[in-house]
Amino acid sequence: MRWLRFAVLIIFATVLQAGFLANFNYKPDLLLILLVFFSVYASSSEAIVSSFVIGLAADLIGPVMGPQTISFGLFGTLLAYMHRVIAFRKMHYQALAIFVMSILTGLLTTLLNLIRGEPILSEFFVNILKISLISGILGPFLFLPAAWWMRIQTNRFRRK
């Protein structure tokens, strides 16, 4: 894993999410797409660290710190372990993985926000569903530029 390139990619995605995508009503969650990308293409140890770091980046532009670090870290690790059994090589599997991961992380983040004392909106699930759907559709297409930047060969399948 090239950690410097990883840091640049995460900062770029975080800034893009907080700036360019902030004004759109319908937008993908770039950090979640990257979470799935690294869980699928990095080794298990790298996937654990990258999941928590991506969650931390998501928290930096979120309302409170902590919930997304935990939810991204937990589900990113689970996906990395699951990838040792089920391969997410085809685009529609990757899209499905992003969609499911987005819903799971969204629900856990909401629950942790509730524990933290943050009010929960009545239409929170609709918001999660919207983001999950858009992320699921766009995500697999963003895997290619991410793989190019990280110098990861997506066609070389390996499990660590």
């Binding site: 800034v15 907080a18 902030a22 930096l60 532009i61 902590g66 670090t69």
Partner: protein, 278 residues
């Protein structure tokens, strides 16, 4: 060759460092770090968020400005230029100030009076980062307790109240906009004045709760004013414009009222914090 060997060894060592730690331990450490962040006081964790917003202020702003050309959230505002919006909001404010002055003259004839904003301190602050994420609408500004700011102080732009301070440190503050889904503020609207609460619903909109009886005359483009609040605002000020007023589908005897901010929040670069009693 020796150099190559050394490089290889360094790379190999670095790679093995992560692999030398068991995955279970790695996961537990990271999870503990996450839990510490979750349970740490907000005043402490805010520092990280403020630092990130400050460090990447310019790329975030450039990205936001670039995306603005494609968003059309406020059709009623987009038709006006910024000077027109400022003039309109200022006229509404002056009308309210005048009305209040007449009321005071009636009540306290003979006593010395002053303009509601005369004693107030206005602190101009630059926006470091805007966070507009569906239901969430917040701004981070570059003023804090060192500049006399306190929690719950109201913030205006273009002579229009846009939000209030919810968190702050010595040099930065977080503003929750009135359209944020967690925001609630007391407002007046209609003629005669009806007192209600304006609750943000996200996507640059707010609604009026509890609903107003359909016997009251409310129409699109009516002004929604923030009620005067002792210590925070001495004179009602415009907060929004009614953009939709329709009968409730389940209970047709009440209005469902949607409000949008009276200024284009996406276009502003600085805001003014009202410190009523400095």
């Amino acid at each position: 060759m020796a150099w190559k060997q050394k490089t290889y060894r360094t790379h190999s060592n670095r790679k093995s460092f992560l692999d030398s730690i068991s995955r279970r331990m790695l996961f537990i450490w990271c999870m503990l770090a996450g839990l510490i962040l979750l349970l740490a006081p907000k005043s402490f964790t805010n520092k990280f968020q403020f630092a990130f917003a400050s460090a990447f202020r310019w790329p975030i702003k450039i990205g936001r400005d670039f995306s603005l050309s494609t968003s059309q959230n406020q059709p009623y505002i987009k038709n006006l230029n910024r000077n027109d919006i400022q003039d309109r909001n200022q006229v509404i404010y002056l009308k309210e100030e005048l009305k209040q002055a007449y009321d005071k003259i009636d009540k306290l004839s003979g006593m010395r009076n002053r303009s509601p904003m005369a004693g107030a301190k206005l602190v101009i602050a630059d926006i470091i980062a805007p966070y507009n994420d569906g239901s969430r609408a917040e701004l981070i500004i570059n003023r804090g307790t060192d500049d006399g700011l306190k929690k719950n102080q109201l913030v205006m732009s273009d002579y229009c109240i846009i939000g209030k301070i919810i968190e702050l440190d010595s040099r930065r503050a977080r503003i929750m906009l009135l359209t944020d889904a967690k925001s609630k503020i007391d407002v007046t609207l209609g003629e005669p004045e009806i007192r209600r609460t304006m609750q943000g619903i996200g996507n640059n909109c707010a609604k009026i709760i509890p609903q107003i009886s359909a016997t009251n005359k409310i129409s699109v483009r009516d002004e929604v004013l923030v009620q005067k609040t002792p210590g925070l605002l001495d004179c009602p000020m415009i907060a929004g414009i009614v953009t939709e007023c329709k009968r409730n589908e389940k209970v047709p005897s009440v209005w469902d009222i949607t409000v949008q901010p009276a200024c284009d929040i996406t276009q502003i670069d600085d805001v003014t914090v009202i410190i009523m009693n400095p």
